[in-house]
Structures are given as structure tokens and as C-alpha cells.
Symmetry: D2
Subunit: 137 residues, 4 copies
């Protein structure tokens, strides 16, 4: 997906994720990606979301894009891979793909564009150099 590392998280499919079409509800896939990022921030980058908040920063989604290929169903397990694909002065772009654990076929893929903001003001913020380092793996 990119010159940066690709990290992998496993996410449970819960019965409340299933909608009237007997599939995981479309919007839930964003929550699966968010779950993977939280896990990977702590486990893979070594800087948890809590650590960002303690430094007075937060990440907000500016834009997102997703393609749906095949649905997940009850009993399935999601494998979510994410990778930073671009680091800008004030934000990062993260690509993801979600596969079904049982057959490794693609369920969905896309990207999220995040801006770094100040927790206090809510305004966009330049990413400090040490955080650029952390994400440049």
C-alpha cells in the first residue's frame, strides 16, 4: 500500500453490527478501521491515542473514501490492515483494507484523511517532528 509499514489488527464481528440485510452494516467498517488504528497506535507505533490527548493533540477525520467488495456476516472475523500513505504538515492519510479472516478475500478498502488538531482550540496544528518520526516507520 505504501512506503510505510503495514500493520494488522483482528476485529470481532458482533451481532449488533449486522443490519437488516444480514450483513455487517456499511458504516461499521469505519469503526473496524478506527478500532485497528487505536490498537496499532499503541501496539505498533508506541504512542496511544491517550498519549496524543495528554500532549494536547487529537486527530479528526477530514475526508474518507471506501469501496465495498464483499460483505461480512455473523460468525466472520475481520482482519484490518492499515498503513500511513502520506504525511503532510498538518495531517496524515491512512489507507486500509479489510479482509475476511477465513478466506482472506477483500471485504472493503479505502482511505481516511486525518488532520491533527489542538485539543484546546480544536484548530489545525502542525505535526511536531517527533510525531512525524513515530509515523515514519
Amino acid at each position: 500500500m505504501s512506503e510505510f509499514s503495514v500493520f494488522t489488527s483482528v476485529v470481532q464481528v458482533r451481532p449488533d453490527d449486522i443490519d437488516m440485510n444480514q450483513h455487517v452494516h456499511n458504516a461499521k467498517y469505519f469503526d473496524y478501521v478506527l478500532t485497528a488504528r487505536y490498537d496499532q497506535m499503541e501496539r505498533c507505533y508506541g504512542m496511544s491515542m491517550e498519549a496524543f490527548l495528554e500532549r494536547g493533540f487529537s486527530w479528526v477525520v477530514r475526508a474518507s473514501y471506501m469501496e465495498h467488495k464483499r460483505p461480512l456476516r455473523i460468525g466472520d472475523t475481520a482482519v484490518v490492515k492499515t498503513s500511513v500513505t502520506e504525511i503532510r504538515e498538518r495531517g496524515v492519510k491512512v489507507s486500509f483494507d479489510i479482509t475476511k479472516e477465513a478466506d482472506r478475500k477483500t471485504v472493503a478498502k479505502g482511505w481516511l484523511d486525518y488532520a491533527m488538531v489542538s485539543l484546546q482550540s480544536g484548530r489545525p496544528q502542525s505535526i511536531p517532528d517527533d510525531i512525524i518520526q513515530i509515523y515514519s516507520v
Copy 2:
């Protein structure tokens, strides 16, 4: 339901509330009651949740009970009635019933037992007299 006033709110059923059984998902009915209470705190009691938070208080659920009678489906609208049924030193009990707008038949009913807590410490808190007045309508 009680010696105190009964207030009524109308809550939209959204497609994402419907689960794999083609009904509103059980746990969502608690969210319909929560929506009604927020609406009624501001509109009927004249003290919004924000006003509680500004005074350094919050409400947490200690216990809940619900009976399910008939399901709501996509296209239905929920009518949620709530009423304070008990005011204690450190909490209130709120009864609710949810009906389907189209036929006024009962969908679910039950109660929620709330404790007042300090926002700072998270610990139980005696309810101030003026707030007891506000809820004694």
C-alpha cells in the same frame, strides 16, 4: 405511572436501528429513552443535561429493567413517555413506556435508576434542593 408529571417525546426510527431480525435492535430502546430524557430535561424540566454538567453534576445509570412487548420496524415512529417515580437523596428512578405512534400499542416499558455523581470525582452526590424541586413536577 406516578404522582409526578408524565412527559412525551417522539423519536425517529432509523434504518441503522434495525437488526438482523428486521426489528429495532433491543438495546436501541434504551437509546430512545435516553433521547426522550435529554429532550424532556431541556423542554419540560427546564434544566438541560448541559446545565447539569455546568454545575459539576452528571447522572449515571445504576440499574435498568425493560420488558419487550412488540417490535418496532422500519417506517415506524416511537412515542416515549417518561416519568420520575421516586426521588431519593442521591438518585431518581424514572419509568418509561414506548409505544408505536401509528397504533399507540405498547412496544416496551420499564425503568432506569439513576445516581447523581460529581463530575470531578465521579462519586455519588446528594441531590441539591433546587434540583429536587425541578424534578418534583
Copy 3:
């Protein structure tokens, strides 16, 4: 947004839509758009989702794109406008924008690309002429 009609629905913000950032959770905006489309299919196009299902058709999301401009908070109300912007042999593209009712400022905007599928097989399906007519308003 397009040569086709723009329709408007009002969607309640519920307390359970608010996430740890005190804003409506990003993924919920897709549910607000879905709620608007269900409302508009029945009220504006005169063919409800149920009517599609009865004819053996369903709509699935192939891709989506969203930009987030400003958050909604508890107490706000969402105004969701949608419009068909493209009709293809086997799908339609729907643009949306979400504004805050109080100040009509943009909260989010984007598009959803839907494929028509057969309920039985789950496979892509040519859109029948009468349905193309219904959406060509």
C-alpha cells in the same frame, strides 16, 4: 448538486450518536444520509425501500466519499439534502450534504454509489425502465 431534484429530510441527533470527542461520531453521518434516503424514497420518489424489496430488488453501497467540515453536537438537528447525480445501467450515484439546522452551515458532504442487486442472487441487476423514470425527477 445536479440536474435532478434535491430532497430534504430532518434527522434527530441522539445522545448515543455522540462519541468520546463530544461530537456526532463520524460514521453516524452515513446513517443520517441513509435515514434521509429511506424517508425520501417513500415521501419524494413514491417508491419505498419496502416496495423495492417486494419487487425482488435491493440497493447496496459500492463506494462512498465524505468530507467533514464542522461537527454536530448534542442538542443540534441535522438537515440532510440528497440528490441523484448519475443514473447508470446498474446503479445510481447520490450526492448529499448535511447542514446544522440552527445556522445552515455545512457539516459534511459527499456521495454514495449504489448498485442495484437481485434479492435472490445478490448479483448486480439492470435497473428496470420504470425505476429509472421514478429516479429521473
Copy 4:
């Protein structure tokens, strides 16, 4: 909890489970219990929800009760224990308790009362003897 077996499932806490109070949203605990039951039906009782549906049966919640002791937060993991505590002609009662994995302290506990229904008619149904056997472990 009962004369019947107690089974245990581990449930991920997802960022979208956290509400504006920075805790797992109250109503989500029902989804954690539901997730545990689905897992245990297949893994522990040897009859998955799918197997029930294939035989033309489903389970619906008639009533529920929950006490909240301590909240779960982002980064926590839930351990959900459930046990059948009563088998009636047309339903079963299931007790649960949820603990935080890190310290095994109680988060919530309560029960769910389920009725067996016919998938076709939606009406209450006597539980077949072989299913009573399956749950009598």
C-alpha cells in the same frame, strides 16, 4: 450463578462503544452479552444461532435487568460470563456478569429472559426436548 454451566467469552471494547462520558455506553453492555451468547451457543452448546434459524426457531428478549457497577474505558477488554439459570416450557433465563479483564472487577451484571419463537409466525413456541438437553449442561 446457577446449577448449569457458566461459560466465558472475551469481547473487544471498540472506540465507537465509548460515549460522551468517556465510558462504554450503557446500552452496549447488552451487545457484549449478546456477542458472548452467540459465541457460546456455537462453541460451548454446539448449536449456533444459525442452527436455530435453520430449524425455524429464534430467540427474542422478553425482559432484561442490568446493574452497572464500574465503567469500562477505551483500552479495556470485557470478560463476559453467562449461565442458563432457568428453563421453562417456552423460554430460558440467562444470567450474566461482565468483568474488566485487567483486574477482574465487576462492571455489570444482570439477566435476560428469552422466549423461543417460531420464525414463521413469530409466536411463542414450546422448546423441543433435544434443545432442552442442549441447554441443560
